[in-house]
Amino acid sequence: MVNRFWAAYGALERRRALWAYLFLAPTVLGLGIFKFYAIARVLWTSLFDTDLLLGTGPFVGLGNFVEMFGDPRFGQTLWNSLVYSLGCTFLAVVVGIALALLGDRHVRGVGFFRSVAYLPIVISLTIVSIVWALIYAFEGGLLNGVFRAVGLPPQPFLTSARQALPAVMAMHIWHGAGYYMVLFLAGLQGIPDVYYEAARIDGASRLAAFRFITLPLLRHVILFVVVFGTVGYINTFAPVYLMTRGGPQGATTLLSYLIYQQVFVYLRLGYGSAMAVVLIVTVLSLVLVELRLFRSGRDF
């Protein structure tokens, strides 16, 4: 009797498992083909001096990697990418939390404020990049028009090696800030008011409440934004392609753009694949470090 029960239970479990696998299959298949196979293919291609148009090339082992790390352009690009990704992520967290705090107030017009803050993200980054290139233009640009109107000297936002990267970063943060605001807003509204009431009774200042209640309780949201932002920002391509083409003096060349340039302009698929491997390793390393930094024994 007992054996029959377990046999029937086992059959049921197997049927359930079968259904689960069936439902998972499309996703696993998609991930397998478009992610894991693609990554494996990139790894394999990076070992050859593959020509884009011919699709073939001699085996060079780690030759592409040796060449890459000996190329000062690559070093500069890797540094630019780290600055861009980590800088944008940090500022996205700061601006996102600031906007969320403003949008969390129960005052008249807060809905309008949230809508306006969220608005940029609904516009394509491509269009935003083109528009901001016009805003930043040295001649006839909106920003420099304002500068001239108030007696300030015009700035070479996109044509100065010092200003170009921060200028592109500012545009990108502006574009995504509303999205992060919504995430932080959801996090803020999930914090019970009783914590703040208890803090007030204990005489805690607003700053102290923010430091010891808000920030710790937003940890999961911050972690999500940090990981999501790091991965997203380090893969930035369109703004650089459309606004600066990686210049001036390589100041805005990011890894994605350099890979594009090597593969589609110089036709070096193997070399570009080696750069893509470094990009994957860099992203994984950054995310692992971030997960480690945000690891905590306590949970809320």
């Binding site: 020509d51 884009l52 148009l53 011919l54 699709g55 352009r73 233009a137 040295f138 001649e139 006839g140 640009g141 001239r148 015009p154 070479p156 996109l158 044509t159 100065s160 090696a161 083409r245 990686g246 210049g247 001036p248 003096q249 390589g250 594009y260 340039q261 589609f264 302009v265 110089y266 036709l267 070096r268």
Partner: protein, 431 residues
């Protein structure tokens, strides 16, 4: 009536179709065993260009009901990448628009069909010498030109008259670059008016003539054809001197804008504008009241001007070569050349077209003599760009150096850096 007109034009163009490959079916509208589809890749053009091309393709399909052309248009900035992807995929493109500088790169990889045996020799002989020169590589012809190009100096008559400046009216008295700078300085009132705007300010196509004009050498010297290197040439003293001068237009003297000012000339924000003659219909359409004139391209020691434009080539693995060759001949025929010139104002590629428009090319009594100037430059001062495999890397790295110089970079350092990087890229093509 209009349709009948188009049909007649189509038949007229079909009559100019070149000889088909030996052993293949020929004849304009003769039905084939089964309909074939040609995949064509083109650069997305402006309204005029797209309009003419659409007409030509429609007429071709009317005249050849057994051939269907499936056209894909790609924006200029993404064209090379898209073309590379389509070719790399080994399918998806049979016939495509290409810059003739890409011919060596594609031939090196055996990806381009030589057209010598398919194209009527008379059609090749009818081309301008400079246009024919760029279709040829290693003794074979690989493409047919759609248009030529030449750069002229447009000027705002009111602004120059107000400054008491008279531009040269004949090629012998053309301004030197130094004289052009002096005129630009007198005309500049930034940010309202810039003395000189250069249309393709960052492209080697338009900028290389400065070093060459300064004595850097002829096109054969730009890239050493044996060693495949540019060091010592691209960064020679004369080249660096010319590029340093170019940088001063944007920095020290500030007579040229560091960022693109859309329609600067049409809006009266540019006193002088060095541009291609296809700017003429745009200027006339956007600024019908603007008083403008045309003069000759400036030079240093020797007059040198850019030339050449888009061609059509056929993928070596084309599924239906005879159909593709028919289309190639049709869209680049002398009759199509007339139509391209009449409405688009790019310099024609066939000698006979020049004789059909004496007002434009002989007397210069229309369009302020702009077409007469471009014809003169094409015959006397035009230089082709280097023809080497690896040109796309050369062009991109040179472009970066030009942009850096415009943005204040040191010309010597930039040209040395570019030469070193280009040498490294070209080394991959040494056999």
């Amino acid at each position: 009536m209009q349709q009948a007109g188009l049909g007649m034009a189509g038949l007229a163009l079909a009559a100019c179709v070149p000889a088909a490959p030996a052993g293949t079916a020929t004849g304009g509208a003769a039905p084939a065993a089964e309909a074939v589809t040609l995949d064509m890749l083109n650069v997305e053009g402006d309204e005029i260009t797209n309009g003419i091309r659409n007409e030509l393709l429609a007429e071709f399909m009317t005249a050849n009901p057994d051939i269907k052309v499936a056209e894909t248009k790609v924006p200029f900035s993404q064209y090379t990448a898209q073309m590379s992807q389509a070719i790399a995929a080994g399918k998806g493109v049979d016939i495509f628009q290409l810059d003739p500088t890409q011919i060596p790169e594609l031939v090196f990889r055996d990806l381009l069909l030589p057209v010598d045996e398919f194209i009527d020799p008379a059609q090749l002989d009818g081309l301008l010498d400079i246009a024919r020169q760029v279709t040829e590589y290693n003794g074979k012809h690989y493409s047919m030109p759609m248009w030529e190009s030449s750069q002229v100096l447009f000027y705002n008559k009111d602004l120059l008259a107000a400054a008491g400046i008279e531009p040269p009216t004949d090629p012998e008295s053309r301004w030197s670059w130094e004289q052009t700078l002096e005129a630009a300085k007198a005309l500049s009132q930034p940010p309202d008016v810039f003395g000189l705007v250069i249309q393709q300010w960052n492209r080697p196509y338009q900028i290389w003539p400065l070093p060459e004009s300064n004595g850097t050498g002829s096109v054969e010297d730009i890239v050493d054809p044996v060693e495949l290197k540019v060091s010592g040439l691209l960064n020679s003293d004369t080249s660096v001197e010319a590029m340093a001068f170019y940088g001063t237009l944007y920095n020290e003297h500030g007579v040229s804008p560091k960022s693109v000012v859309p329609d600067a000339f049409e809006l009266g924000k540019a006193a002088m504008y060095i541009a291609i003659t296809s700017a003429i219909p745009r200027i006339k359409a956007k600024a019908p009241d603007l008083p403008w004139g045309c003069s000759y391209h400036p030079s240093f020691k020797t007059p040198v001007t850019p030339c050449s434009s888009w061609h059509i080539g056929i993928f070596n693995q084309v599924k239906n070569p005879d159909a593709a060759v028919k289309l190639l001949g049709f869209i680049t025929s002398p009759e199509a050349d007339v139509r391209w010139f009449e409405r688009m104002n790019m310099p024609p590629v066939y000698k006979e077209t020049y004789t059909k428009f004496p007002d434009h090319f002989e007397t210069g009594t229309v369009d302020e003599g702009g077409h007469k100037i471009s014809a003169w430059e094409l015959a006397n001062t035009a230089v082709i760009r280097p023809r080497v495999p690896g040109y796309s890397a050369y062009e991109d790295l040179y472009r970066i150096a030009i942009e850096n110089i415009v943005n204040g970079g040191d010309a010597k350092a930039e040209m040395d850096g570019a030469a070193e990087k280009i040498d490294a890229e070209l080394a991959r093509y040494k056999k």
